[in-house]
């Protein structure tokens, strides 16, 4: 087949906009920005980056011709488009948090790497070909390793980057091994061909090995138990805007990527219940249990968020299971709204960090007096994470759980998982309330009662995230329509 490069460019114009934006940020900073003060350089870099992300959003809208592109290497379906939008929104919010919140040097590099990561996420959402998928995943992952270690003044940041890199590198190796086995089994790297070939042949031990390899990498990306060990350290050590990106956009893209792989690539391999279903159920159950219980014991706010992320990953894995029958709507809605709430929470942390420390739960004490805006936003984000209506977190859970209960009935594995997840939501509520109690009820520690000034851009980003959570919670169909 003769490759049509015009079509390819039209399909990938959002990613092109991001890459051009990233290069522009670096070039302008190195030429015009050298004499300016750090604050101005941050603002300029973020402005260009936001422009690039906005353009990418417009291009995504314009490239809306559905179907396979470039000989089946890319797939521009509803799932891909919706994931692209989600990733762009989350990246834009993470970027908007930057001005004034990060006290790191080299603003242009940070912003450019964020844009590279976003481009990686965006390609992950569309890739339909194992090789391109792997390249996109690596582009995103390598950028995230750099972002995690960007704050060179704190040893925790370096530790976070190293741990993230070592775990990520090993899991990438596993994934590549799994891909090569799949290629060996089917003779193709295209997902639809793989699905067809696997459907035609009997289940082999080699396929099981390949699936296990893929699931290991998935478990790492999702921070599912037992591949979760990197998460608490990275959440704790990485600079807050980087942690926001790792916890939100990376999750959305990762789940779309692996769900597509499992649903279309290997889903058909063994008829009704795919072979990976039970393994996924075990991972989900373990994540739910360990995440929620370990979060109870945390005194560090960021580690608490990390363990809650592990618990949420369990619920998202449940969404991957239900997606086989009910489509990707519930999963994407859940990951996106989770991402919004997490970006917001890290945004609040980042702004508090400007004024002082924000590591332990006690550092939140008296937040309601110090900044009602931050406290109010934190309330929305945390309640959404806890799944309280009318915020989007509730509807996400409701949709996922009711689908899970319908998937196998009340007594099937998905049903049990859903019931366990609802029960553990009550546990989760406790640690989320501890956070809110510190912010609203506990008085500030002496010496830290000063009001916190909130810069304009981060304030707008937080308000936007909170408004989106409320709007999506009240009108969930507006988002679900994008996917179905």
């Amino acid at each position: 087949m003769k490759p049509n490069y015009t079509e390819l460019f039209a399909a990938l114009s959002p990613e092109a906009a991001l890459i051009v934006g990233a290069l522009l940020v670096v070039v302008l900073d190195l030429t015009l920005g050298r004499k300016k003060i750090a604050e101005a350089r941050w603002h300029a870099a973020v402005r260009i980056a936001l422009l690039a992300v906005g353009l990418a959003g417009c291009f995504t809208f314009a490239s809306g011709r559905p179907g396979a592109e470039f000989g089946g290497a890319f797939m521009l379906d509803a799932l891909a488009q919706a994931t692209r939008y989600s990733v762009l929104v989350l990246a834009a919010l993470s970027l908007a948090l930057l001005p004034g919140t990060a006290r790191m040097r080299h603003p242009a590099e940070f912003v450019a790497v964020v844009l590279f990561a976003t481009a990686g996420f965006s390609v992950m959402a569309t890739a339909q070909n194992l090789l391109i998928a792997f390249l996109a995943l690596e582009l995103a992952s390598l950028s995230l390793y750099v972002l995690a270690g960007f704050d060179k003044t704190r040893p925790e940041s370096a530790e976070a980057a190293l741990k993230y890199f070592l775990f990520g590198g090993v899991s990438a190796a596993f994934l590549l091994f799994g891909f090569s086995l799949l290629y060996g089994l089917t003779g193709s790297i295209e997902l639809n061909v793989i699905a067809r070939e696997l459907g035609a042949q009997a289940a082999s031990p080699l396929l099981v090995v390949a699936l296990v390899m893929v699931l290991v990498a998935f478990g790492f990306k999702a921070a599912a138990v037992p591949f979760h060990l990197w998460a608490p350290d990275v959440y704790q050590g990485a600079p807050a805007p980087a942690a926001a990106l790792i916890a939100s956009a990376s999750k959305v893209a990762g789940f779309t990527f692996f769900a597509r792989l499992l649903w279309s690539g290997t889903g058909a391999s063994s008829g009704q219940a795919p072979a990976w279903m039970l393994t996924l159920a075990i991972l989900a159950g373990a994540s739910l249990l360990l995440g929620n219980v370990a979060a109870l014991a945390q005194r560090n706010l960021r580690r608490l968020l990390a363990y809650s992320a592990i618990a949420h990953a369990g619920i998202m894995l449940l969404g991957v299971m239900t997606g086989t029958r009910f489509g990707p709507g519930a999963l994407l809605y859940y990951t996106f709204t989770y991402g919004l709430a997490t970006v917001g929470t890290f945004g609040v942390i980042a702004i508090i960090e400007r004024a002082g420390r924000c590591q332990d739960l006690d550092d939140l004490a008296g937040l309601y007096r110090r900044s009602p805006l931050l406290a109010g936003c934190l309330l929305m984000f945390v309640l959404s994470l806890a799944g309280i209506p009318p915020l989007a977190g509730f509807f996400g859970k409701f949709l996922l759980f009711s689908q899970a209960l319908r998937l196998t009935g009340l007594t099937g594995p998905a049903g049990w998982l859903a019931i366990a997840a609802i029960a553990l939501s009550a546990v989760a509520l406790y640690y989320y309330l501890i956070v809110l109690k510190r912010a609203f009820v506990t008085p500030a520690v002496a010496g830290t009662e000063a009001r916190i000034a909130v810069p304009l851009k981060p304030a707008l980003a937080l308000l936007l995230a909170a408004a989106l959570l409320l709007a999506l919670g009240v009108f969930p169909s507006s988002a679900l329509r994008l996917v179905t």
Binding site: F394, I419, S425, A426, L429, L436, F440, R481
Partner: protein
């Protein structure tokens, strides 16, 4: 027809919520307070309007004012379907009245950060109207949670003694209860196989294809435990006295008066008609739990209380026991009595919490041992408090009388032994109610009171406090003297449901 160019139910829900949103977006304080009057009055007017026009409405499956708003989630069977039947109408009206009184009381309360306080109260009010107007089970739950969240914040921020502990405990109990009932509701949705959350459709579907007996039993048990926590069924009640003791007055009025009825309402509206076999199976255990636990044990604990607000909290837990007894009896008379009692209890307990806070403003304490002789200084307050106490005990002339009477009559057929125990509860409530009124208002003033009155001479109830109190009292008396206005629609709505239960 109601002749209104808009849907009164939607307006009753949306008006307070819209105002709350406007306040959140930065409405100036002066305007917030002024508009808050409208925010609380609109639901009341709409509620009274629906009450007045209810019998003249065309009804489908017992529901009047039925409207359906698409949510785009038809694939899941979720749509915002609003309507009132004979069971929800009285509660909808009661929510409007109590919300109005609580709102007026809040506006005059001079609470710190009044704007935010009113905003939270308005969210609660909108949610409450939504709970009783929803025909869709999803929205029924959704609105309940919406009304629940402000409670936690209000107790945590504006609460009195032990507010941090009380807010945490309340939140954990209530959310756990809500989660359990959510499991029950989703399981019901899945098991029914009807793929709809619409209660009317579900009823129709399950009438032709009832669930198996074992499923009904299990689901009813789950719902009873979940709703039981929310309604403070013994021994899951410990959050209630603590939480009400700490809650600010308007919040306590709305929560104990209206929001708490959500669980009972859910059992009556969903549990009894959809799971009749389950209801029959669990009737005896539930009745014994309610009569021994809620009525007798909690009743005796109430007598021992020294703190006025704690006592009101415990008495509210105790009265919920009667409601469970009526549900256990399961007949039209019993369940109808419960609905009447829910309305009456909501009005009277809200009145009592309102007056208790007014008493506190004059005595600067909630400890009843330290009060006394207030009646000479504040005759209107004393008269209102005594009237509210009489209502709460269930004296004829007040709405509570009819509720309790019908429950007892229905209960006699169910089990005379339980009825005997339950009637003993009336004596208990007379003891603590009258003793509280006597301690606070009559007898010689204690040393503490003399010191306090010397420092802050107590004034009688201001009109700003009187009006909400009088609104509640008037509603109690109206239903007390004309119970037919509520019992007719209740009766019409319950008869088919009870027939199904009796046939099993």
């Amino acid at each position: 027809m109601s002749h209104l160019p808009f849907d009164p139910l939607l307006v009753a829900i949306a008006a307070p919520l819209a105002l709350a949103l406007a306040i959140a977006l930065g409405l100036p304080k002066r305007w917030s307070v002024r508009l808050a009057y409208a925010g609380f009055a609109v639901p009341l007017v709409m509620a009274l309007h629906t009450w007045w026009h209810f019998s003249a409405q065309t009804q489908t499956a017992g529901y009047a004012f039925l409207t359906n708003y698409s949510t785009g989630l038809t694939g899941l069977g979720i749509s915002l379907k609003l309507g009132l039947n004979g069971i929800s109408l009285p509660l909808f009206v009661m929510a409007g009245i109590v919300g109005f009184a609580a709102g007026l009381y809040a506006i005059q309360s001079q609470a710190e950060r009044l704007k935010i306080y009113l905003m939270l109260l308005l969210i609660m009010q909108g949610g409450l109207m939504g709970v009783f107007a929803s025909v869709d089970i999803f929205f029924f739950y959704f609105f309940h949670e919406l009304a629940l969240i402000p409670t936690f914040i209000m107790v945590g921020v504006w609460g009195g003694r032990d507010r941090g502990y009380a807010a945490m405990k309340m939140t954990i109990y209530l959310t756990a209860g809500a989660m359990i009932s959510l499991v029950g509701l989703i399981a019901l949705y899945v098991k029914s196989g009807a793929t709809t959350f619409d209660l009317i459709e579900l009823k129709r579907y399950l009438a032709s294809k009832p669930l198996s007996e074992i499923t009904q039993k299990n689901l009813f048990a789950v719902l009873t435990v979940g709703f039981g926590v929310l309604v403070s069924l013994w021994p899951l009640h410990t959050w209630a006295p603590l939480g009400y003791g700490a809650a600010p007055s308007s919040n306590a009025m709305l929560h104990t008066g209206v929001l708490k009825k959500f669980g009972l309402y859910g059992l009556i509206q969903i549990g009894l008609p959809l799971l009749p076999a389950g209801a029959v199976h669990w009737a005896h255990p539930l009745a014994w739990l309610a009569v021994l636990g809620n009525v007798l044990i909690v009743g005796l604990i109430t007598i021992a209380q020294r703190d006025l607000k704690q006592m009101l909290g415990y008495s509210s837990v105790m009265h919920m026991g009667y409601a469970f007894l009526g549900i256990a009896a399961g007949t039209t008379l019993g369940v109808g009595g419960v609905v009447l009692m829910m309305v009456a209890h909501g009005l009277s307990v809200a009145l009592l919490f309102l007056l208790a806070t007014s008493v506190h403003h004059r005595t600067h304490t909630f400890a009843m041992d330290e009060m006394g002789g207030l009646a000479q200084k504040t005759p209107v307050l004393a008269a209102l408090f005594v009237a509210a106490t009489f209502a709460s005990i269930g004296l004829p002339g007040f709405a509570n009388f009819w509720g309790e009477l019908t429950i007892f009559v229905a209960l006699w057929k169910f089990s005379p032994a339980i009825t005997a125990c339950a009637v003993a509860g009336v004596v208990i409530s007379a003891i603590y109610g009258l003793r509280a009124a006597a301690r606070i208002f009559f007898g010689p003033p204690t040393d503490h009171m003399t010191a306090i009155t010397a420092k802050f001479p107590p004034a009688d109830l201001r009109w700003a406090e009187r009006i909400p109190a009088l609104v509640l009292l008037a509603a109690l008396l109206f239903v007390g003297f004309w119970p037919k206005s509520l019992s007719d629609p209740i009766n019409a709505a319950l008869t088919p449901a009870a027939k199904v239960a009796a046939a099993k």
